[in-house]
């Protein structure tokens, strides 16, 4: 009696343990989403000026706030007149905090730099066309002579549509992800276009033409291709493809979108092959037999019956191949050259989203906007790959239901 009860209890406990592990898995996934998006969305609403600093102008200046791009161009010396940013004509005098130490001797600032803000106010008062980039700690109080430029906030539009990715620029870093998005798409689409004929060809060969003996060699080979670590692909690309591309096309550097595309194509092959082969194999033999019985050749059967029937599965293979290429990090980081500029051709260096995260996260302080911007890129990747998985699922599901009819 007791033993039976114990047994029942044990059954219950073990079942609970199983269900709890299922729950943990689900929670882990929810956590990933929460953490990624919590860090990422902190970016929007942050000040466009570096944390802990502000911009100041003379109180007589009409300008009351500047866009991050204008700020950057002023401090880079590309804009030199207030007229160009909508103010009264007058040559802009850029003033950085350190310069104060050239104007006054150390003891003019008093104990603990107590007089430093006053001296800074003096400088701003004396230069009607000045723009000063100062730490908040020593900043002069806004007064009749000093005006603090109002903070702008980073918006989603700045992020999505910005064409410059300069995360370490001071005083206002630029987080425009357009060059990264375009770089990612350029490399991935090129890779998939290269990989498609190869992948689909091998899939047709494996499912329709090869005998068992060849399959027994090819299948593990494809698995092996999928198993080689991405950093080894990157190394192979760096050691073999990059010099080859450089020599063949007589380029100044071989680290280009072209090289990255080739490496990614090889890496996307196993995904495309196995998904496409599954799709072709799932076509029932009755379809093939019917076609052959009507006098069609084997090729006509494949071309006119098997491939059209497996269309949606093949589409899923393409979609998953793109997903694989877009998310690939290490290999691309190693062979693409990583120049964060708007891509113009395949033979230039590009930078993809995953490579940006991998290259910059180590240097981004964990409370700054740069860190948040990289998480936002992670969110974009996450959303993109989720759409890819869901799309592939919907495509194949439709395929299955239509087959049952």
């Amino acid at each position: 009696m007791l033993a039976k009860r114990c047994n029942k209890l044990r059954e219950r406990i073990v079942e609970r343990i199983f269900s709890v592990s299922g729950a943990i898995t689900t929670i882990a996934i929810v956590l990933i989403v929460v953490f990624l998006f919590r860090e990422g969305f902190g970016l929007f609403g942050s000040s466009t000026i570096e944390n802990g600093y502000s911009l100041f102008v003379n109180a007589k200046n009409d300008i009351s706030s500047l866009s991050p791009t204008d700020t950057k161009r002023i401090f880079d010396g590309e804009i030199t007149d207030w007229r160009d940013v909508g103010g009264k004509a007058g040559e802009i005098k850029v003033f950085r905090f350190d310069e104060i130490f050239n104007l006054y001797s150390e003891d003019a600032f008093g104990d603990n730099y107590a007089l430093l803000p006053d001296k800074l106010a003096e400088v701003i008062d004396n230069n009607p066309t000045i723009i000063a980039f100062l730490p908040d700690k020593y900043a002069p109080k806004p007064s009749s002579v000093v005006k603090r430029l109002t903070d702008r906030r980073i918006t989603a539009a700045d992020f999505v549509l910005g064409t410059q990715w300069l995360p370490t620029a001071t005083p206002s870093p630029l987080y425009g992800m357009l060059p990264l998005i375009l770089g990612t798409l350029l490399v991935s689409l090129f890779a998939v276009i290269l990989a498609l004929p190869l992948g689909l060809g091998v899939a047709v060969y494996l499912s329709e033409l090869s005998d068992n003996r060849i399959r027994r060699i090819m299948k593990p080979a494809v698995e092996l291709l999928a198993g080689i670590p991405s950093v080894v692909y990157g190394f192979f690309g760096l050691a073999v493809l990059v010099p080859l591309v450089q020599r063949t096309f007589a380029l100044p550097v071989g680290e280009t979108a072209f090289s990255a595309g080739i490496v990614l194509a090889i890496m996307a092959l196993p995904t495309i092959i196995s998904v496409a082969e599954d799709a072709l194999r799932s076509i029932s033999p009755a379809m093939r037999e019917a076609s052959l019985a009507l006098g069609a050749t084997k090729w006509q059967t494949i071309y006119r019956v098997v491939i059209p029937c497996a269309k949606s599965g093949l589409l899923a293979a393409i979609v998953l191949g793109i997903g694989r290429a877009v998310g690939e990090t290490m290999a691309v980081l190693m062979v693409s050259g990583n120049a964060a500029v708007m891509p113009h051709s395949l033979f230039e260096s590009v930078r993809t989203i995953p490579a940006t995260i991998a290259a910059e996260l180590g240097e981004a302080p964990s409370d700054g906007t740069h860190y948040q911007a990289l998480f936002m890129l992670g969110c974009i990747l996450f959303i993109f790959t989720s759409i890819v998985s869901i799309a592939a699922e919907i495509i194949t599901k439709k395929h299955h239901t239509s087959k049952e009819l």
Partner: protein, 284 residues
């Protein structure tokens, strides 16, 4: 052109494409093995890097990767297998099963660098583990979880329902059926999945970049809260950011060969197990 010759041309093209893919694989493997073999020696495998990584071996990286693999599998394997058992054998609520399945499918497609971001945010910063074996292993474990769940699910589904019915009809309880009948039958495939997961984990770089990996460490890690060197990260460092890339080339080829060797070994091992048990099944 008649349809027979069209067929000949088409089939020829497919054969050629397949040969090309095999050729690419052989090219990559041949390149790594040919160049790596020169750097390979007992000394290379058992000593630390010296002179800015231009001399010496990769022993700390091998040990580090070993720790990461063991710790991450210790976390992901039981969790994944139990989740899969729950989904296939226990869960009666179709919605829950669907939610878990959608979640894991989705997770399987998430790029590894996103796991790195998450691991850094949760394990390194929020939990305060710092860059450590623990943080890296948990990140890698999450990455591999979908694969473990999927392979286990497939293994369990491959066990015929007649086994379950037979066991239950003899009066066995659900747990007894799962433990004595279903699991032993599914075990070869589950183990195969485990081995392939190990191969995959040992080559992942992006997730450990910010959660565990160190550029160079003078000594082996003492606890799971220490940073480690790891093979894939070591190869990345040697190939891209060493102080003297030319001089460390030999070490880079050697490291690449060790990485490829692990994958080859794991795949071969999985193949042997699969074949062995398939033959055994046939004799019943």
């Amino acid at each position: 052109m008649n349809r027979k010759s069209k067929q000949t041309i088409a089939f020829g093209a497919f054969r050629l494409l397949s040969l090309a893919v095999m050729g690419i694989l052989l090219w990559i493997l041949g390149f790594i093995i040919y160049n790596g073999a020169g750097a390979m020696s007992i000394e290379f495998l058992t000593t630390s890097p010296k002179d800015n990584m231009t001399e010496g071996g990769i022993f700390p990286a091998i040990v580090g990767t070993f720790y990461l693999v063991v710790c991450s599998m210790a976390f992901a394997f039981p969790l994944g297998v139990m989740s899969a058992i729950y989904i296939t054998e226990y869960a009666s609520n179709a919605t829950i099963v669907r939610i878990i399945r959608i979640m894991t499918n989705n997770l399987g497609g998430v790029p590894s660098i996103v796991f790195g971001l998450f691991g850094m945010s949760l394990f390194v910063n929020t939990f305060g583990f710092g860059d450590s074996i623990l943080a890296g292993s948990l990140t890698l474990g999450l990455l591999i979880l979908p694969l473990v769940i999927r392979t286990t699910e497939e293994a369990l589904k491959a066990v015929p329902d007649a086994y379950r019915s037979g066991s239950l009809a003899l009066g066995a309880t659900k747990l007894q059926t799962v433990r004595r009948i279903v699991m032993p039958a599914a075990m070869p495939n589950i183990i195969t999945g485990l081995i392939l997961s190990i191969g995959r984990i040992s080559g992942e770089t992006a997730p450990i970049l910010f959660t565990a990996a160190a550029y160079f460490l003078p000594q082996l890690p003492h606890s799971i809260f220490d940073q480690v060197m790891a093979l894939p990260y070591h190869l990345y460092v040697l190939a891209t950011s060493g102080t003297d890339i030319e001089a460390s080339e030999g070490a880079a080829y050697g490291t690449a060969l060790v990485l490829v060797g692990i994958v080859l070994l794991m795949n071969a091992f999985a193949g042997v197990i699969r074949r062995y048990f398939n033959n055994k099944m046939k004799t019943y």
